[in-house]
Symmetry: D2
Subunit: 270 residues, 4 copies
């Protein structure tokens, strides 16, 4: 299992493909490198070397001994890339991973070829904070099944519930078996890393070609928040995946793959 | 405290005003007669005698010894009205109370002058059931503060969270002091009363003048569901309260009062 | 025919009802006093004395000899009210009439008890100007049937077209017989009166109780514009009539009547 | 100028690029091969041989002597492809061109590798017919400037008007110089070719991989119509370009290019 000690913590990473160009993928807060199994092959076939990373306290990365803020992941990623002697990346981040991606773009702009931000936000509204508090309460129960039941209705769209109930039930079972007490402790540390996150005023400093992916039924990071980012990052394109909630990469996996491939093709193409 | 034994259970009711026409108000599942304090005076001033009722297992009504389905409330209301010698009512129901109101309209149409349905549904979608399950999990914790935190983000709109955070914090504290273990037991019985509720195909039998109130950010009973009811009840009018979630009567109290007053005026007027 | 010379032009007006409170109605640019036949009786029955007015160059009012800006109508209304010895009014304006109503509210606030603004705007966007230019081109053809065909798809919603095609066809015929060459000349003068209309920054000076009526499929004065007004007039309420375009008072007449009645009841009520 | 006589009419076509895979592009009713100048290079760079075609009565194709229905273009395209000895194509059609593309997919499914449908419809609603009638009236004036003013507000979004007024003004001038009386006669024949176009019930027979592109402010072929197609073509993906009207390929050219490239990459990829 490839892990490397960065800033005192073992960070897990995994390569797929052997293209020249590199696509780094950063996870949403409840996800891990394994969550991307359905999407990575498409990016590999399109000629990319895909680098999945688990944040500290996530997936197969080590737990953090200390408290940290979200910017810690920026330094962890930077350290990992230095170790791997990678100087230039395309960076895709979803939700929490999108927040980290924007912070990385602001701190290390010269390392980016392009930026892909899906279902993410540049600030914490009261509403987002209240959702965070709800999930923290749910996590404190340290019960995967209950956590799933309490958190999912905000994540998946009603459309998805109508058409894929069995998939969701299976996933509930999966959560129930996978989410250990330790998982919840790690989750709660990740969740508390947001601090007073608000980078709206800094977004105009991001000058790398950027793709923004929104979905029309995303309650957590609604279209309005993605549009706000779009208006501030000059070289950004905004595309909407319809009939999908916050989990667009699961709910509409092919559409998600498609818009990312299109953006990468366009970037290469020009 | 005015209570009357109906179908074996003491049902609480309260009159306000002394108009000739009667407006009966049925609560949402987490509400009680007291929830309407801000709205009742307006309807009284408009000349109505307002009758608030708490369902069995709700507010000041007695707990139910036995399990029951939602249709039980129809018979309880009917029994109460017989006891009070009331033959004709205008019936306003919100959410769960709206479900009961439609069932009442189907069973006792001759007792209705008009029907007002706010933020309600004629069927349980998978998504609604999953929200119900989430709230059941939350209720089982029997902790008002946690229940509030877990359930509210689906009920109040993000707009309301941005503008009224303090009100919500105060309310969280209120819930925390008011919601006793017994409250949660009663809630869970009410919640389990839905059964296979689906009256879509029967709606066309409702022929009384009907007002439908929807709000644009209602995640629980979205516009689509209200529109579905509107298309099936011939003599229905549909109005939307914008920038509001499921709790439209709290989030936009004056707009809520206004459309109800307008509908009542129109009915009387013609 | 009751007309009175105001500012050099005979202004037509008509009373209905004999209530104490007065409701003045100002027309959209293509409308006249006669357009309100279906709505006035409801307001009369609710106890209002309704005063319909035709702007100069509109309906049965005289044509203007000179060019004028939209503020002229404010002075014309003020002059008419002085003549009629009316000191206090409730003012309902739709679209162009809504623009005049806001200007009136800014100039003569002491004469207002309440303000009702339907499907209107506080500024001219490029898009609105381009629609104005399209209609001007259409008007220059001086052919009622062609004018109707060219202008209506922007005014009525697609929903209305699906459900009320015959009504629209009948109306096309009516336009074709009623719209004389003189009507188009008058229309073009009204249309050119907008100037650089933009009162967004002054809206916060309006302090009278205000109702804003929007409809969800209004292409000409979309929800966004009504919401902008709502945010700036402190004591304003905003209600949406769904499945309707710019012509909400025709497309959903009963809902339109209802929300106005509700607002008037609420104002009186408090 | 490459033209070939097909079904009695000279059809203009133009190749760009020399990839193995072929992308045929079919125009909207007011467009021509030249309209795609900004998009074709991207598809060429992505390895496609792009074949632009002008329908009879469009661009550099010959005028039709006889009346015809929209299915005529299907046979014209088929004839052209036979002449060019092309057996398999990827077919991209926008609006009217999208209608032809779906008809082609139903008639000659074996010739398609994939189908891309942008801002199009599978039926004519009353509203669409009324827009068609409005444009016919405008076309009968045979004046490019007037036609532009009368037709464009339905085609471009209000967003686009706010941000690109000068571009629109330049385009108005262009139309005014280019649109000859003959252009309008040809337009009117194209416009009258729709007949009773309604292929909703046949859509489920389309089994080729399909991309549907919608835009959120398209008044002519609104999202609802694209979604209706999406629900009936099993192997279809639906993506929305936000803040754009019917002319999505002009209003948001890069986003349009991107989603098409992504779909082509995905198709090749799998």
């Amino acid at each position: 299992m490839p892990r490397v000690k960065v800033n005192g913590v073992d960070i897990y990473y995994k390569f797929n493909g052997d293209g020249e160009k590199i696509l780094v993928i950063l996870n949403g807060i409840m996800m891990s490198s394994e969550s991307w199994g359905g999407l990575v092959p498409s990016y590999v076939r399109a000629g990319y070397k895909v680098l999945n990373v688990d944040f500290r306290d996530q997936g197969k990365s080590e737990s953090s001994k200390d408290a940290y803020t979200i910017t810690q992941h920026v330094e962890d990623l930077r350290g990992l890339l230095q170790h791997l002697k990678i100087e230039k990346i395309n960076l895709l981040g979803i939700s929490y991973g999108g927040q980290v991606s924007m912070l990385f773009a602001l701190k290390y702009p010269h390392m980016l070829e392009s930026l892909i931000l899906a279902n993410t936000m540049a600030r914490l509204t009261n509403y987002l904070k209240s959702i965070g508090e709800a999930w923290d309460e749910a996590a404190k129960l340290k019960d995967g099944e209950k956590f799933f039941r309490l958190a999912m209705p905000l994540i998946y769209s009603d459309t998805f519930y109508e058409k894929n109930l069995q998939w969701l039930k299976d996933r509930e079972e999966l959560f129930s078996s996978i989410l250990t007490p330790e998982w919840f402790e790690r989750y709660l540390r990740l969740s508390s890393s947001h601090g007073d996150y608000d980078i709206v005023d800094k977004l105009s400093n991001i000058q790398v070609p950027t793709l923004l992916i929104s979905s029309d039924k995303d309650l957590i990071t609604p279209y309005r928040e993605l549009f706000m980012i779009h208006e501030r990052i000059r070289d950004s394109k905004l595309v909407v995946i319809p009939e999908a909630g916050h989990a667009s990469c699961y709910e509409k996996m092919e559409e998600f793959i498609l818009v990312v491939l299109g953006f990468l093709a366009l970037s290469t193409n020009e």
